[in-house]
């Protein structure tokens, strides 16, 4: 598909049956999940650390981030490595496989009624071939500074 003006490329992935999209420009790589090393006393959204490009980076579990129950990794599980201004963060997702172009015209502002769902980390909603895709604001997704309180069970 040729890239026309007003069209951006996205990586699609799934969590709990919902399809999400991130701009492919921020995706460094998508890799299979082999081993994530748990980090003791890290906040719950942190699955652990992995190697990526010679660096040790955090892996966030998007199921936990979005309030879904955790599931064990399987062959379809993927780690989507995001490069946000030089910071590398891995996102654990149920599966990721598609690369699509979405024209600006197909992206709408999320309706207010949806704000309870993935709330402020949504950039918009796109409809492609009857399929609803939630477009993520990746900065908001990986900014978990407000979640530090959840780590309240720090060693006393």
């Amino acid at each position: 598909m040729p890239q026309a003006t007003g069209t951006e490329s996205f990586i699609l992935f799934e969590i709990a049956g919902t399809t999400y999209a991130v701009r492919s420009s921020v995706v460094q790589q998508v890799q299979m999940i082999e081993h994530v090393t748990p980090v003791p006393n890290a906040i719950p959204v942190v699955e652990g650390v992995v190697h990526a490009r010679g660096r040790v980076i955090p892996a966030l579990n998007l199921r936990v981030r979005f309030g879904f129950p955790k599931v064990p990794f399987d062959l379809r599980s993927r780690l989507v490595v995001i490069n946000s201004g030089g910071r590398l963060v891995g996102l654990v997702v149920d599966t990721a496989r598609e690369f699509v172009f979405i024209p600006d015209t197909s992206i709408e502002v999320p309706p207010d009624g949806l704000s309870k769902l993935s709330g402020k980390y949504l950039d918009g909603i796109a409809t492609i071939k009857e399929r609803l895709i939630l477009i993520l604001n990746i900065e908001q997704v990986i900014d978990v500074s407000g979640l530090e309180d959840m780590a309240a069970e720090l060693p006393s």
Binding site: P40, V46, G54, P58, L154, S156
Partner: protein
Amino acid sequence: MTTPDSEAPDNFGEQFLDDYFAECDEHIAAVRRHLLALDQQVGEGRIDSALLDELFRSFHTIKGISGMVGFREEEQLAHRIEDTLRAVRQGDVSLNVDRIDGLIESVALLDRRLAARRSTAPLPVLPDEDAAAIQPPDAAAGTAGSGPLLTFSIEFTPTPALAERGININSLRARMQEIGEILKSTPTVKGQGEISFQFQVRTHVDLMARPEWNSEGVQTKAEAHVPDIHRPAPKVASSNVVRVDLVRLDELIRIVGEMVTSRARMEDQVKQARKNLPSPEWRAMFESAQTMARQLRDLRDGVMRVRMVQIGEIFDRMQFVVRDMARESGKRVIVNVIGQETEIDKFLIERLMDPLLHLVRNAVSHGLERPDERRSAGKPPEGRLTLRATTIGEKVSIEIADDGRGIDVERVAERARATGLLAPGVPLDDARLLELICYPGFSTRVEADRESGRGVGMDVVKSTVEALTGTLSFSTQTDQGSRFCIEVPLTLAMADALIVTVCGQTYAVPQLTVREVFEVEPSAVRALERNEMIAHRGSALPLFRLSEFFKLTEPHHSRDRRFHVFVTGTGNNALGIAVDRIVGHQEIVVRTIGDSLVQVPGIAGATDLGDEKVVLILDVPALRRSALQERMMRTGN
């Protein structure tokens, strides 16, 4: 880490600046060394002109490169120092203690400004140009204006019309001499017999802002940089030094580290192949593997050596501090430097800088006495400060010793007992004394004096050293002086580590932090109130369970099984850290964990053992601190 494509022209300027700062650092380090030598020579009344030349060369270069990166104030400052040095070289002024002080102050200011530039902190303000010490004697005379000293090229083409209005070559020359100095004048004959004059003028007046200097017949241009024409520009000695970004070096070390792990794996495989291969074939393979191991060790050492810098530069910097402090406090100090050629990891030495400076400041302001005090104590009036560095195996030891009054043990004890840090009747040995003076907020001096009361305190010194997996030790004797000794590993990039498992998780423990390991029978654990203890070597060793601190649970984890304990710390500070098993011993490559999301207490970094899985490295000093806090909370202290 930057990927090659992100090093595109965007951050070209940044890279260029890195080079600039690195070059300035080198020159300032050399300047410090030379100024110290010069300072001594002034005292002895003989001045080595080669030193002056070296200094001049350094400032000349700093001036030039500052101009190139557009740092006008630094350029100006270097220029002014250069002017002073030129006057000294020409014999126009003599070098005395005050002038040396002025130079040292200017260097310190330059250094501070560069540091601020680098960190984009607010810049220290340049002093007024009439600050006497760095003012060249001839510059003030006959100059108007107070702007920076600039050079202009002026072209004058005389015409009869101008001559009628009184503008001729002589009047112009007089005007130029009024405002500054004519560096050069060259007449040029143009095509039709027309003649013009080119001048180079150095002045504080910004001629570009004066219309009369750019009027009929006169053309003025600003010149960025004019080489000194009184003397040929000093040649900068060509050097064989290559500057390398530490990040790139880290990458090399990482690769070498991976090879070290792969080789360890290969060694196992070679051992296993023994039963399947005919002996001669196996022996050949075994020998190749041995050779490779040796070569790899050499390669590793070679790469490591690149990271090493001599500690002498840091010692020079300290001598500066000492000199300043001695002058301000009226004390006399002789600094004894031993082992300045000792090499230490660049990363380490940068982090040790503040702690070392703190110890030196402490020694001068609290340790050493005033000359009269010293005389009445039967000591020579000059205090002696010894800075000594030595390499011991894989460690570097840095010692800072003074022959001053020593720490007032009674006063410390009194204060410690008053604040409840020391139980009555407990004797105060050197180790306990060190613990007390390193206790956050503990200081025998209530008033924070200028020299030692700012920046880091002893608690920060201790925690910094420990964070670098080093140790701090101390001894003191009344009227004999005090001695601090810092021991750190030669490099942090690689370490010997114990590999331990807890609840199915694997961790690496830097071996330097471990004193001994042993196996424990669960029935040997005693509960003392809510603390667990084990009898070990005739005393009670507090037990710290890693599984509890890390909140690890696993079905296989049983409290009835024998487990391993490693001991960290000595004497009263000793702590036994309980893990399930100690499964091995390996050389690891230490990687930092950069993301704050995964920086947690008790974890110092990460490594891998050759299978791509991340293995976390325990931060043993932090674990010890946590254990101490826990114990205090349990006992309601």
